[in-house]
Structures are given as C-alpha cells and as structure tokens.
Symmetry: C2
Subunit: 338 residues, 2 copies
DNA sequence: TTGAAAGCGCTAACAT
DNA sequence: ATGTTAGCGCTTTCAA
C-alpha cells in the first residue's frame, strides 16, 4: 500500500493539516517543522493521491484533448504543438481519440469531465458540423471548452480557435489561374464544412475566370481521410487524364489524395506540373516526400497549437470576458507541382 | 453544482446505498425501487463522480498509454490498433506523450499512476535502452506494466510485447543479395537498440556474401525521426551516387529516410531499382506514397496492437502466472524499389 | 504556527 | 431487499 498523508504526519510527528500545508505551500509553517515534514515525505516516498485531492478541490491541473483521428498527421501536428506549450505550464494532457464517431466523442468528452479535467479541448470534433452543436453547448456549461477548427454557430459559449482555409485556397486557385489552367478537377470528400468550402471556392474560380463548369467537375471520394484514398485518387487521376476531357490541374482536398493523384498522373506518363498541376491541402509531411514535391495549402498547425495554448492561459487567468474567437490564416505553399 | 448520489437518493426516496447498488448492478434490488432510482438519475442527469469512486475502489477502468512520439505514424498506428480493442472492453484510454524525454516519461508515468490508471502501457519508451531499466522495474511494482517494443533485460517484472526486426531485415537483405547487390549503404540512426541491430545485420550480410566492408558503409543521421531527415537522406543519397564508389542499394533504418534517399537518387537521374535499390523499415503510409513505392520491413502495428490488448485482458483476468513475453514477427514487404 | 475535526462523493460491510 | 454507517486520502475551516 502506498503511504498516505497520515503516515507522513505520524513519521514527522505533526498533524495531517500541517503536512497538507507543506505540500501545497499554503500559509506559513515553521521552517523546522517544514524540514521534518519534507524529510518524512522523502523517507516514505510519499506522493499525494490525486483522486482524493481532486475530490476536495475539484481541480486536477489537467486538460483533456479530444481528437477525431489519431493517425491523421495534420491533427497530431496540432496536438504536438499544443501539448508542448501546455506541458510547459505544468499541465497534464490527456489525449483521447474519438475515431470520428460522434457518439464516442460524446462519451469520451463526458468521461473526461467526470474525471475532472479542468478544461476540454476538442480538435475538429465529429460534431463540428451539426448546426446547433447542442452537445458542445451543454459541454461548455460543465467545463471551459476550446473548439479547434470547428465551424459551429458563433453564439455558442465555447471558445473557438480555427484556421480559415479561404485565404490559402484562393491563393492556390490564383496561381493555377496565372499559369493558365482552365480545367481544374476537385478531388473532394463529403460531409464536412471544409469540403463544402472547397466546392464553393472552385465555383468562384470558375466564374471569375469565365470558365466552363463542365470542365471543372468535383469528384467525391468516399473516405478521404483513409489511406485507401491514395489508391482511389491515383486511379481517378489516371482515368481522367486518359479520358475525353483531360484536366490541366487537380486540386485535392487533402495531401493524401493529392499524393495519390500525383502517382496516378505520373504513371500514365503525363508531366507534372507541365501538363497537369497538382495542389493539396494540409501541408503535412507527405507533401515533402512525393516527387515532385507537392504544392499545398498550409493550415498552420504550429500557430493553431500556439493560439490554443494561449487561449487556455487566458481562460485560466480569467482575463477573458467573452468567448474567444481566434482565427489563424492559411497560406499556399508553392513547391513543385504547380 | 453537479448532483450527487445523495440528491438522487433523496429524489428517489431511498438510501445512497441503494442508489449505489442500482448504479453498479450489484446485489438484488426490487424492480420497483430500481425504476424509481433510475428515474431520479435520469431526472437529475446524475453522473457518478469518478474521483470519489476511484478513491473507494482504487480502480478506474482506465489505462494509461505512454508514447514517445505523437507525430510518429508508426507509433500512432500501434496506438490506433490497441485503443480500438481496449475501448471495446469499455476501458478508458489516456494517451500521453513523453516527447522522447526520459525525465518527462518518468513524470508522466508516475502522474498516470497517481491518477489511478489500472495499468500502464509504454510504447517504445525513452528508457527502453537503459540496461537495467530500473525505472520500469519500480513502475511495475505499482501497477501492471506492459512494455511495447522495448528491449530491456528479460528478468524485469513488466510484461513485454515486441516485434522482432531480424526476420524482416534478413529477408530484405536476402532479396538484395538475390538481385546481386554488393554495395549496400546503411542510413542509420544512433542511440537505440534497433539501430545497433541494423548495423549488426548489415555486417552479417557483408560477411555471409563475402563482400567488402568498405563498399557497405554505415552513415549515421542525427535526427532520424525528424522530418528533416528526409532532406538529409536525399542529400546523402545524391552525394553517394555521384561519388567514387556508388552503392547499388540503400537500406534506410526507417521509411522517412528511405523516402528521402529515394528522392535524392531520382533527382540525380539514377534508376530505381535498376541502378540502385532502396529499402525502408516501418512500412508506414509513406511507403505507399512515394513513386516507385517503397519496399519496406513491416513491423506489424496491427498485430502488436492486438497482442498488447490481449495481454491486457489476460492481466485483468488474472490468468497470467508469469510476466508475458510476446514476440510478433516482422516481414519484408516488397514493392517497387527492390 | 499548529491541531482537531468536518467533510468532498462514493462504496461496502454490517444491520435490520 | 434496504438502510446505517464507517471510511477511502485529502483539504480546509475553526480553535487553540
């Protein structure tokens, strides 16, 4: 059995209250007794029981981070950047993976709160597209809640840190337009705000450049975040380029599909970017591993992580009068496929 | 304030003990009262306080998973496979990231234990190479400890699940030998067991094929797990192939370096695998994104995850009489670079 | 400055 | 079948 505060008190010849005071550095305690207590702690290798402490203080110096996809390099980059900073504040980070299942996310969120995390950070949650986001609303009632890269109604009580994608995507389209591309295929996913956005920005590109919508179709891939999408994108790209109306650019909604498309194109012998340009989104490590290297829209994981950590600090310090609304700007990173 | 068990008892007109019985499904309770209690729970939206419960039972139905590199796709694949299975058992998985810092790992491990995780799983921990692994020994005294992919002395009390790399690497070398490669450069890292192993197996390959050690050098890269290693490997590969004694194969200690080497080779115009073969280790998504696709040694994340989960079940069920020693076998996955 | 004692919310004997 | 009660290990008044 682990030693308890009672053991320490006995060994030090003081009361448990005094031991508690020493541990928490609260209120004065005679240097001599303090030494004795510290010696006893050392001797018994005593560690306070967090559960008991949490029960009393209902504070545990920990945050829960809820993520939808633990193998998604984009998400994990954000977590990485965030966690490093939080750890520097002595915070304990619990990471949980919902696997993009809203129900699981719900369960994990409540569970984390029940385990008395002091705040909850949700990264691109599975609920992010529900218009009312009622779940997040109720959550925000129980605990400070930071939503990262969500697109919920702004009247929600939660704090929001997000990277807008418009800027970077528009930059990408501008580059495509400047290099004379007039037949851009969008390899897209479905069911999330960001996919709708890409579709919209493609339309905008088509209209403002006076292009034919029929030359600029959207192709939807079933599981755009699965590794299988690499294959699927490759097949689609190859088919397109051999088809009757070959594109001169492929805009993929993420780097994985872009990498797949690139593979498919090169295998059919077309030249990238001379014949066909390729653009991805996310700017993860994948973009630097293909050949030629992928031009991609950076969604600024480092900044997102930093801003989220800073928001957490502001919440902790109580200097926030209203829910935070932080927006980080995306940017197009041009490499070798445009 | 959240409702407590007392509130529920009051509303249902029963004692707290009865409420507790209903919640835990332990011992009989009259269906009628049970209904009343459930109604009260529903009405108050009551959730038991995990801290208080954990304090009593010193069990929390949770496991801590400690990982060294949250952005490492290989590690995260293991976690993914593991967590899915654990979650199916109703276990709550806390994931923590040590960032490959032994001190941080130590702190996190103790912290998790103090938060009463029921068991601790360490994936390729930062202490994995210390010969005595004294930290793991003391940890194992406090909590069931499963070490994944560690290479510590086998008399330790912890349970061990690991993937041996010899099989797959030897297969890879055999393929290289069969295709007549006689000048293999090893792109290696340093400071971990697995790097030593690769060096040793290269020597074995050189000797058993009667090759010249000078033609089969080892080049050590400083941060083999960093994304920067892609660039570094590319530069080295390009330099090698332009040098006085160009290799006919590059064996990289992981896929990231292999991808980099591949880039470097192709940029200098050599043909892969005709002029130079490339082999990676880990078989992560990267291996399927390069062109040509990377031949790589699979370290069986799926099996590792499954075996680890099963070991956990055995520990929980108390059917383990001695520390578990599970070994999963690696395999060479031949793709297009050999 | 220190100690005694009352909880925090829950479970588990022990009674009834 | 249900209630009473004594803790789990800690913090925090309130006294001394």
């Amino acid at each position: 059995m682990n030693p308890t505060i009672v053991d320490v008190a006995r060994v030090a010849g003081v009361s448990t209250a005094t031991v508690s005071r020493v541990i928490n550095g609260i209120s004065r305690v005679e240097p001599v007794t303090k030494k004795r207590v510290e010696a006893a702690i050392e001797k018994l290798r005593y560690r306070p029981n967090i559960l008991a402490r949490g029960l009393m203080k209902s504070r545990t110096d920990s945050v829960g981070i809820l993520v939808t996809h633990i193998v998604n390099p984009y998400h994990m980059s954000i977590v990485h950047a965030l966690e490093r900073r939080l750890a520097a504040h002595g915070v304990f980070c619990y990471l949980c993976n919902s696997g993009d299942d809203p129900e699981q996310e719900d369960r994990y969120a409540r569970e984390l709160i029940r385990r008395a995390v002091d705040s909850l950070i949700v990264i691109e949650g599975a609920h992010s597209d529900s218009p009312d986001a009622v779940m997040y609303s109720t959550l925000a009632g129980d605990v400070p809640l930071i939503l990262v890269n969500e697109h919920v109604a702004l009247d929600i009580r939660a704090h929001i840190v997000r990277c807008e994608q418009e800027t970077g995507i528009r930059e990408a389209f501008a580059i495509l337009a400047a290099s004379g591309r007039r037949r851009v295929v969008l390899l897209n996913g479905t069911g999330h705000y960001s996919f709708d956005l890409k579709r919209r920005l493609l339309s905008e590109f088509v209209e403002s450049n006076g292009l034919d919508p029929a030359d600029n179709p959207v192709i939807t891939i079933s599981c755009p975040n699965d590794t299988e999408s690499v294959h699927e994108a490759a097949g689609i790209a190859a088919a397109l380029v051999r088809g009757p109306n070959p594109p001169d650019a492929i805009f993929a909604a993420n780097d994985m599909m872009a990498a797949g498309a690139l593979q498919g194109l090169l295998e059919t012998g077309v030249s990238v970017p001379d014949d066909v340009a390729v653009v991805g989104v996310d700017d993860v490590i994948i973009a630097r591993i293909t050949r030629p290297k992928l031009s991609s829209v950076s969604l600024r994981t480092e900044e997102i992580g930093r801003e989220t950590a800073e928001t957490w600090v502001r919440i902790r310090d109580g200097v926030l009068t209203a829910p935070a609304r932080v927006v980080v700007h995306s940017a197009f990173i041009e490499r070798e496929t445009t």
